[in-house]
């Protein structure tokens, strides 16, 4: 994509995606669709009061999680934020178990003890959704370090928002990853707003992640975060460098969230024309159009949507029917022995 995304940010790097095979493209589309349809349903269930607490949706940002996950091996690690439904589902976590977690059910990925902000599925490499800004960047480094020590080929993907680039842990983690040459890729999802405030109003440089890369000896990498193929290729290359022992990468993916920061936020602080402009870049729509232009059979795309809807329906029904946690679950797993005893 050559056009400017915003006057402040400038055009991202645009990898040549023309050689991508159709299977990868369909996998990317399926990811985008599954995440979109799931989150639309999750939002509805929140509004119906079936999901308690808060939620942070990735509506409009699905291309990033999709592009990255499709470039990963099944034993690689993902660390994401409280806005982590997309990143969790994209790694292959059970949609039923994720939905059940949102509904606080015993069958949820965390048995109802984590909730929307803490989705975790170790079996699928989802090493946690972290709800304190910046905290998981240093933790993700630890997993990447461990891969080196254990001599595995695993890489770690660490996702975070633009607001994270202004907290100390970001800078500590980037420097640490660089000096230890860790096999990790940091993905900054720059959706232009930290929570309610525009990132450009509170940041000394226009590109909050890429403009900091040089401070850690890293290349400034930007990508159109609404283009699943571009994200996929940038991620694939970054992971290849990590596996080759070339150390970390910092990728800034430019995107936009369709809604507010969280369930409580209608996002009214954003100019109407800005929202309208970005809605024309909605990956859910634009990627389908691109695939059709490339000659992909429309029926195949319809089938993907249909399968996703069926999966979302099934997840909803199974979550609603799932048992609530037993009260004793509140007392378990403080310690590795499964209990909570602090005295004899």
């Amino acid at each position: 994509m050559s056009e400017t995304l915003t006057p402040d940010v400038g055009a991202p790097d645009a990898p040549d995606t023309s050689d991508l095979d159709t299977a990868t493209r369909l996998a990317l589309y399926e990811q985008v669709v599954r995440i979109r349809r799931f989150e639309e349903r999750a939002y509805r269930l929140f509004m119906e009061g079936l999901v308690k607490g808060t939620s942070h949706l990735s509506l409009g940002m699905e291309a990033i999680a999709s592009g990255v996950a499709t470039a990963m091996n099944s034993d690689d690690y993902t660390f994401c934020t409280y806005r982590g439904h997309a990143h969790t589902l994209s790694r292959g976590a059970s949609m039923d178990a994720v939905m059940a977690e949102l509904l606080g059910r015993a069958t949820g990925v965390c048995g109802g003890k984590g909730g929307s902000m803490h989705l975790t599925d170790v079996e699928h490499g989802v090493m946690g959704s972290y709800a304190i800004i910046g905290a998981h960047l240093p933790i993700a480094n630890g997993a990447a370090w461990s891969s080196l020590v254990r001599g595995t080929d695993q890489v770690t993907a660490c996702f975070f928002g633009d607001g994270t680039t202004n907290i100390g842990a970001f800078h500590e983690a980037l420097n640490f990853a660089a000096i230890w040459k860790l096999p990790i890729v940091f993905f900054c999802e720059n959706n232009l707003y930290m929570e309610y405030t525009a990132i450009k109003d509170v940041t000394a440089v226009p590109r909050p992640a890429a403009d900091r890369a040089s401070a850690y000896g890293l290349e400034p990498i930007t990508v159109d975060g609404n283009d699943p193929e571009a994200v996929h290729l940038v991620a694939r290359d970054a992971f290849a460098r990590a596996r080759a022992g070339e150390g970390p990468s910092l990728v800034e993916a430019l995107t936009y969230r369709h809604g507010g920061h969280s369930r409580a936020d209608p996002g009214k602080y954003r100019p109407d024309e800005e929202v309208a402009e970005w809605m024309t870049r909605d990956p859910y729509v634009t990627y389908r159009e691109r695939l059709l232009e490339l000659g992909v059979d429309e029926q195949e795309l319809d089938d993907i949507v249909e399968r996703a809807d069926a999966a979302v329906d099934a997840a909803t029904e199974s979550a609603k029917a799932a048992p609530l946690p037993e009260l004793r679950a509140a007392y378990t797993d403080v310690w590795a022995d499964g209990g909570n005893a602090w005295r004899n």
Binding site: V122, I139, G142, N175, R343, N344
Partner: protein, 325 residues
């Protein structure tokens, strides 16, 4: 055979003992490798285990403890050093909000076998920002184990237990104790977490102390003996798990309790122990449960002023005499 070694040498010996046993034990921290630690508690380890297992880090406490946590989540047994326990405040999110809660909130998907070693407490005239006794900060967070040895044998044995433990342990080394010596047996030493030790048997009053306060309590007990008061002294050794059985059993016999804490007054660990004894041992008591703490004041630097605020042998002696009246 046994030999007399310092508390600081015991740290290195305990770490080496565990590193020889388990290749997944790795050390990280500021100045711990080539320099052997600012308190010289880790000398020789770089030479024996090499730079991959004994690694210097930048001054980035969140990065250090984050790395330890992520490594522990994925199969390693890291031991991270935070140079002064005061610096835990710079990475408290990782300690209290990430490490302590991750197992619980993921429904047990992760186990976090990691140790955070840190130099705690006063006595070196470092002033208010490098002298705090903060073991009570850690004690109040569910999900953290908290250990504080008072002598070289326990440094080795409790460090070994902490490293082998499957849960995160904060290991508070009392920095004024580093040069102190104690007898240590040859061979492997492993203690159990959560076992207090009666270090002086007595029948009139129980004094519960931790780390540097144990020696002071023992010295006070000698003075009390001259007054005809037979004090029992318990070295708590571990705040979490807490050996309430030993405390309640002792107070049940002596009918009186004094706790000696280095931390400032409010919400110190002694308050928890006093509360437990009040609830569960009340009918055995013959005197008010009494706490000796540093006053609720930051610590000054000048030796005269620092000593004024820290619990002293004389203060323990005087307080116990009043409790016995």
């Amino acid at each position: 055979m046994a030999e007399l070694i310092t508390y600081r040498d015991a740290v290195a010996r305990g770490l080496a003992q565990e590193m020889r046993r388990d290749p997944m034990v790795h050390l990280i921290g500021e100045d711990i490798a080539a320099a052997g630690g600012v308190f010289k508690a880790t000398p020789g380890l770089l030479d024996e285990f090499g730079p991959d297992r004994v690694r210097d880090t930048p001054i980035s406490e969140e990065a250090i403890l984050g790395a330890a946590m992520g490594a522990a989540m994925t199969g390693m047994r890291p031991v991270a050093e935070i140079m002064f326990s005061d610096f835990l405040a710079t990475c408290w999110d990782i300690v209290a909000v990430e490490i302590a809660k991750t197992r619980y909130m993921t429904n047990g998907q992760f186990t976090l076998p990691l140790v955070i070693r840190t130099a705690n407490g006063a006595g070196l005239r470092f002033g208010a920002q490098h002298s705090q006794a903060v073991e009570n900060w850690a004690m109040m967070i569910p999900g953290l184990k908290v250990v504080a040895p008072s002598n070289p044998h326990d440094v080795i044995g409790l460090l070994a237990a902490a490293i082998r433990d499957p849960d995160p342990v904060l290991f508070f080394e009392q920095k004024s104790l580093y040069p102190t010596k104690g007898e240590v047996a040859d061979g492997e030493i492993v203690e159990k977490l959560g076992e207090a030790k009666i270090v002086r048997k007595g029948s009139d009053i129980t004094i519960v102390a931790l780390a540097s306060m144990v020696r002071k309590a023992l010295d006070a007990a000698e003075l009390l003996a001259e007054d005809g008061i037979d004090a029992e002294v318990i070295d708590l050794r571990s705040l979490v798990p807490l050996d309430t059985r030993t405390i309640l059993e002792s107070v049940g016999r002596t009918t009186r309790l004094v706790t000696v804490e280095e931390n400032p007054r409010l919400c110190g660990w002694g308050a928890e122990i006093v509360s437990i004894v009040a609830e569960e041992g009340f009918w055995r008591l013959d005197a008010p449960l009494t706490r000796i703490t540093t006053p609720h004041i930051p610590l000054p630097s000048a030796d005269l002023l620092e000593d004024e605020l820290l619990p002293s042998v004389d203060r323990i002696h005087d307080t116990v005499r009043k409790v016995m009246l």
